[in-house]
């Protein structure tokens, strides 16, 4: 066996290295399919004081003939698409570059993020700014979900919406770009104690960025499902107060 043949072996791994990419394809792929379907519906996205996060803020200009979600979803979608965690997830699982560690890359040539279009991943921090603006609307929606006919109340939908926006906030503010902007760009923390404290707080959450990414992905889809089912009359909202 020539040594070059050893080098050409796809992998010598014996464990289930394919399981993680498979689960990510199912999870992320399922989310993308559902979100696309839900965004194209243009209906059943609100119920009383509840508004689906896929449609917030709801922009309905008279010249726009399609679903209002299409006008806004580029923001959060761009944030997730350029996110450092999701890049790892989809480069590995969808693009097989590489599918797992010490498993051969599926492509003959590789240039990474050096050229167009992947060089555009560098605009991630701008999508972070956009995502932060979206959070303001989502927090407003979550608070509004506690007001039933002008009076304070608590429904299962209120709780779902507030949990969802809390998870989305944790995902956004544990972002690597946020960590850099808060203080990671500094060489001397001692000269900016406030930014140092902020950087440490973000760093703590940044260690769980993958967890927040998945939890918020699931919660945002479930929130839409819940409001959609209410709006379609399939289920009834549980009121606690």
């Amino acid at each position: 066996m020539p040594a070059s043949e050893l080098a050409a072996t796809a992998t010598l791994r014996k464990d289930t290295w394919w399981l993680e990419p498979l689960l990510i394809v199912l999870g992320l792929g399922g989310f993308v399919v559902y979100t696309t379907w839900a965004a194209l519906q243009g209906a059943h996205y609100e119920y009383q004081n509840y508004l689906s996060p896929f449609y917030s803020p709801t922009l309905t200009p008279s010249w726009w003939p399609w679903s209002p979600a299409i006008l806004i979803l580029w923001g959060p979608a761009g944030f997730r698409l350029t996110c450092y965690y999701y890049r790892k997830a989809y480069y590995r699982s969808f693009w097989w570059s590489p599918p797992a560690c010490a498993v051969r890359d599926a492509h003959g040539a590789y240039t990474g993020e050096t050229g167009f279009p992947l060089i555009l991943q560098n605009i991630h921090r701008y999508f972070f700014y956009v995502a932060t603006a979206f959070l303001i609307f989502l927090w407003y929606d979550a608070i509004y979900a506690f007001i039933f006919d002008g009076r304070f109340g608590i429904g299962l939908g209120s709780i779902i919406m507030v949990v969802n926006v809390a998870l989305l906030s944790m995902y956004s503010f544990s972002c690597h770009s946020c960590r850099h902007l808060c203080g990671g760009c500094l060489d001397k923390f001692s000269s900016s104690p406030l930014r140092y404290r902020l950087w440490r707080m973000v760093t703590t959450q940044n260690e769980s960025h993958m967890l927040w990414a998945w939890l918020s992905l699931v919660s945002v889809a479930l929130t839409d499902v819940y409001i959609r089912l209410l709006s379609m009359g399939i289920i009834r909202d549980a009121r606690f107060f």
């Binding site: 066996m1 040594a3 050893l6 010598l12 014996k14 590789y110 993020e113 560098n122």
Partner: protein
Amino acid sequence: MPDAIMRVWRGDATGGAFKEYRVPTDEGMVVLDVIHKIQATQANDLAVRWNCKAGKCGSCSAEVNGRPRLMCMTRMNLFPAGEPITVAPMKTFPLIRDLVTDVAFNFGVAKTVPAFKPGRSEADGTFRMMQQDIDRGQEFHKCIECFLCQNVCHVIRDHPENMPAFAGPRFFVRLAALEMHPMDTDSRAEYLRLKAGLAFCNITKCCTEVCPEHIHITDNAIIPLKERVVSEYYDPVAWLLRKLVGK
């Protein structure tokens, strides 16, 4: 304990094959112990690089059952008893013989890294640094240069044509330590972008997965460096602020 069935790569750059050895094992043995036993009892000419047997010299890097590992830190009871264990040399570097590879590529890259450039010292000729300023760099100084991160990085592992344009994770750790040093005055953004090929990295985190020192290579070194390069070259607001403030 049952005999271990070891499939060890034997050969050099011209060719070779996996050869099977059955080795009696004792409790607590690591893969390097078994390789030494093979060397002592069955194959005196088996080439293996090692030194400290304590996970600190970074010499005994290899691929055990296809996963890049330090042989001295890989316990035998990690593997199901009675199943063959494959031990191969690091795939990314040219093979010298058996389990020994030529890692000179890394020494070549090391020579190109812009060195530490301190600012002016204080009046008494010393430097004073605050603890919080150096905490971040301590993690990077744990690197033992085993080159497992370089070996597993698909940028050069599967695409050796990228080697002249890519420094690799070990050197991004070194560059992060220099860039974030409170006393360093140099900027290596241009080197990172043009010479070290930072943009080749697609942050798939294999370097972090295999690091025996558990350095968060991707999160704490590579991504912060990418963000610094973004500030320097791809962020118009940061550029404008630099022009206005002069920093």
